[in-house]
């Protein structure tokens, strides 16, 4: 097998086989986990254990990642409209800078997540090795994305004309990997890492993305009150235990 053929097969693996492994694992495992262990569908929040660094970790991270993902979804769902928007240079620059700020926000958030999870003993106690895998792979994803935004601009335009048809070809079970095989290595690593995240998604706390309590945004406020004597309740429980 010569060098070129080897790389052809490698591309075939990363851009044809991995996406389907990722998508099928995602669909089967998320459904299975929800059916078998619905109560594990949670972000496993540790906000009660520490709330100061938590603000500088979670808020920038979530605003950042949502902005970046929104940009990617626009490119995926409305490629032609995005190209039309980008046809005026100032609009292209606004779109790109917004995405770039989102990526920096995500990185700042991740940096604070690491500080919080390594410095606070209580949070450290509830951090699992799976959490570290998730943090590591998201950091890799964000750094390759930032590198791409700076050195391989303008991603919003070429995403719409190169990555979008590739992703749709995957969905239509007719993979056209020629769209991506000649992209720079960092961009290819960014795509591979994205499919890896999709593969790992059902086995990590990332599943909380699927159960975001969106109605909290518009439902009426609820006041929770205790209608019994808490002292009495505790005493009773204690006495029951003693017996």
């Amino acid at each position: 097998m010569n060098e070129n053929t080897f790389f052809d097969y490698l591309d075939l693996f990363w851009f044809t086989i991995l996406p389907y492994v990722a998508l099928f694992t995602f669909f089967i495992a998320t459904i299975q986990r929800y059916r078998g262990e619905a109560f594990t569908y949670s972000s496993l929040s540790s906000q009660f254990l520490e709330n100061k660094i938590h603000f500088w970790a979670m808020v920038p991270f979530h605003y950042g990642i949502l902005t970046v993902l929104f940009g990617h979804f626009i490119g995926f769902l409305l490629p032609s409209q995005l190209l039309a928007w980008n046809s005026v240079p100032i609009r292209l620059y606004i779109f790109e800078i917004t995405g770039f700020i989102g990526a920096i926000f995500t990185l700042v958030g991740l940096f604070n997540i690491i500080i919080r999870r390594t410095s606070n003993p209580r949070v450290k106690m509830v951090t699992t090795s799976t959490d570290w895998v998730v943090i590591a792979i998201i950091i890799f994803q964000v750094i390759t994305g930032i590198y791409t935004a700076i050195f391989h601009s303008w991603g919003s335009s070429w995403f719409a004309s190169s990555i979008t048809p590739y992703l749709w070809s995957i969905i239509q079970f007719n993979p056209e990997i020629a769209y991506v095989t000649s992209l720079p290595i960092i961009v290819k690593l960014h795509i591979i890492s994205a499919f890896t995240i999709v593969t790992l998604f059902p086995f990590t706390r990332l599943v909380h993305v699927l159960v975001v309590p969106n109605p909290y945004l518009w439902r009426k406020p609820q006041v929770v009150r205790w209608h019994w004597n808490r002292k009495k309740i505790r005493t009773t429980t204690f006495e029951i235990k003693r017996k």
Binding site: T16, I17, L183
Partner: protein, 286 residues
């Protein structure tokens, strides 16, 4: 507990099974029609009977070199050049140092089919691959202006291809400049040896990144001349590279992030007051 373990094992087996079926399904590669393949991958550097572009005119190719050599060359041109083959070195010299790269998805049967196609086309009085028929008329200022609009995207390309600025830059662009995925095209007109070579490139861009996109969204014939005019103008004025564009982009991003973080702190500056702050303070003073 045992049942739960068994259940987990069964689910993992199911997932692995589904993925295995998928691996078996994903084995199809591409079947190519030689004429389409030639159009997409060869015409930007070669004609059949239309004269030399970057690469040699391929008319009567089989009279110049043995078929086995040609098939090996198409399979691995860079390897043959590295081996110091005298005919390959001679061709490279004639092409002013340009190196032919292995075309995507090239196989021995495809190479043989392409050589058959070249033989058939060589017999014709005028091959369909004799080169693009771009007008020889003088290039005007209007052509340059239209070319600039097409390059920057302010005028969309007819067949919905992305504008050149998505991936390329020319040094005269201001603001944050053009894209940096592809090459700087300031000297593209010179690199591709003028109007004929550049037009052939634009008719069917052979770069591996551009080829799949422009196969479905080709540049319209009427758009090629203005783009050639614009790129010729860029080569002629040959402005120095705008190195501040990337730094400005970085500064806008980092500056914007800092401003927003300060804003977030101001918006949520009461986040530890009311209920939590007195409780936290009370706890600390004990």
């Amino acid at each position: 507990m045992r049942q739960l373990k068994l259940k987990l094992l069964t689910s993992k087996v199911k997932i692995a099974g589904a993925n295995l079926i998928l691996l078996l399904l994903c084995t199809s590669l591409f079947a190519q029609v030689p004429a389409d393949y030639f159009k997409q991958n060869c015409v930007s550097c070669h004609t059949i009977g239309g004269g030399r572009l970057t690469g040699p005119d391929l008319k009567d190719l089989s009279k110049r070199q043995e078929r086995e050599w040609l098939v090996n060359w198409m399979m691995d041109p860079e390897g043959i050049l590295k081996s110091g083959d005298p005919y390959a070195v001679k061709m490279q010299k004639e092409s002013r140092g340009a190196v032919m790269t292995r075309a995507p998805g090239m196989t021995k049967p495809l190479a043989t089919a392409l050589l058959d196609l070249i033989d058939e086309e060589s017999k014709l009085e005028k091959s369909q691959f004799a080169g693009s028929q771009i007008s020889d008329r003088p290039l005007l200022q209007e052509d340059i202006n239209e070319g600039r609009a097409l390059f920057t995207g302010t005028k969309r390309l007819k067949n919905n291809a992305p504008s050149c600025v998505s991936c390329h830059v020319v040094n005269s662009l201001e603001g944050l400049g053009g894209g940096r995925l592809g090459l700087n095209l300031t000297r593209a007109y010179a690199r591709l040896e003028g109007r004929k070579g550049l037009s052939a490139w634009l008719v069917s861009p052979p770069s591996k990144t551009m080829s799949p996109i422009f196969k479905k969204h080709p540049i319209d014939e009427e758009e090629i001349l203005p783009l050639v005019a614009f790129l010729k103008h860029e080569t002629e004025i040959d402005k120095p590279e705008n190195t501040s564009a990337m730094i400005n982009f970085l500064l806008f991003g980092i500056g914007g992030a800092v401003v927003l973080l300060v804003l977030f702190d101001l918006i949520w500056n009461k986040r530890f007051r009311a209920v939590r702050e007195p409780m936290v303070k009370g706890n600390l003073t004990k």
